[in-house]
Subunit: 263 residues, 2 copies
């Protein structure tokens, strides 16, 4: 990890943590057979693997699951059989609280691999819901761990992806535990911007696929506070907001906002 920028990537997705691809294949990951032509390939499971190394994925039968907006890819409590890699679209992960309400634990963009948290109990501890029409690859966990026997680099990639999620959660924890709400919202926007950039989208203009309430739940605050923070940023000229449409007019100002007065 590049520690000089770590403070700016507080909420970066797991994929953002991957080291650069080996020099041999500088700008694109080696294609696993089923992955050829997938737009998310370079941020997904085969990322960073050589062609030879990715060959062991031949043995894995990868299914595709189309999910409509609002529908669940898997639900809390379901048996754990697959890891899921986002092909396109956006997902949220949620966990039910005692009270019955939902806590949002993550947002997932193309290339993200979901489901590592199910390895403990063989049940999914969260529900994954599509925030727009989306598609994911279903990776049979059993076959995947079998494939790991052959290729050391795949073994390490699996643990790396799990570790990436761990780091992401730790940073979110630090953010929520130690900053004020405006800084959290700023960090959220910066993180999303960075993830959009990494996926080839505009880092300064994008559509929020989640509601203010979902952002609030994720950041440990209320929808009103999120809305007020966005309005405050807009008033100060950092951003333009119109409903879900976000334009980041001054990324540096936003970064400064996020870095100020930490305890």
């Amino acid at each position: 990890m590049d520690f000089t920028t770590s403070s700016r990537d507080v909420l970066a997705a797991g994929g953002a943590q991957l080291p650069p691809a080996p020099a041999r294949t500088p700008s694109r990951a080696a294609p696993a057979p089923q992955c050829v032509g997938c737009g998310a390939r370079q941020r997904c499971l085969p990322a960073g693997l050589s062609e030879h190394e990715a060959r062991c994925l031949h043995a894995v039968t990868i299914g595709r699951r189309r999910v409509r907006k609002g529908q669940a890819l898997y639900r809390e409590g379901e048996r754990f059989l697959f890891l899921y890699a986002v092909r396109f679209g956006t997902f949220k992960s949620t966990a039910m609280l005692n009270s019955g309400s939902d806590q949002v634990t993550g947002f997932h963009l193309p290339g993200d691999v979901m489901g590592f948290d199910a390895t403990v109990s063989n049940r999914h501890p969260t529900t994954a819901t599509a925030l727009e029409d989306a598609e994911a690859c279903a990776l049979p966990y059993s076959q995947l761990t079998d494939a790991c026997a052959e290729e050391r680099s795949l073994r390490m990639q699996m643990l790396r992806l799990a570790g990436a999620e761990l780091v992401r959660d730790q940073r979110l924890l630090a953010l929520i535990a130690h900053t004020h709400s405006e800084q959290r919202v700023a960090a959220f926007l910066l993180s999303l911007s960075q993830r959009m950039r990494e996926r080839g989208f505009s880092p300064s203009d994008f559509l929020l696929r989640m509601t203010r309430a979902e952002i609030g739940s994720y950041l440990g605050t209320t929808l009103e506070t999120v809305s007020r923070s966005l309005s405050a940023f807009a008033r100060r000229g950092f951003i333009t907001v119109r409903r879900r449409q976000i334009h980041l007019a001054d990324l540096d100002a936003l970064r400064a906002e996020f870095e100020t007065d930490l305890p």
Copy 2:
């Protein structure tokens, strides 16, 4: 995972999530050669593996590292070479914030395996410090992933341990994001109590190895609030506190406290 009690194990350590041992060896995990005689064995890496399965750990040279109170086992930014399994003593994990102050990201008891968060970047993103004189096993990560080639169950155990930490962080996140400070402190005490029980210590009488400030940092609040919460519990007769010595007089009342008025 047992979902009926999940709400009570909010902060449970990774080890707490392991499924029961196979019927063949009901009450003790199969010994890896170096692990024979280790008190933490049943909650550690070889937990749940059969004797045959644990044999592949032969090839792993396990070193022991003695650490005095206040000293670091590894530091943030150091190269990632080993996972560490706690033999005895208590550790805290901390990450430096922008401001230079430390955020506590976890407490680790015997049997806990630390370091999975380093798999992403090949650097430790946190510092592990002993809260009392302690000892840990250093597991060479490279050898460990090699050993995974042979044994499927070891591969799964590795991912399971990483996933356990993930679940723990997610629950802590939900706790901090969605509860008031007294509930967090109650949950912290309950979690510690549970972890003590799992390790064969008294679940109702134990010594806190961490300061109020460290608890506060971990729970996203201040040392004063932690102190006030403990005093409040004591005043209501749920617990007795004397400095670091804790006696849980009424576990059920504490659970009720923790479960009340979630949003």
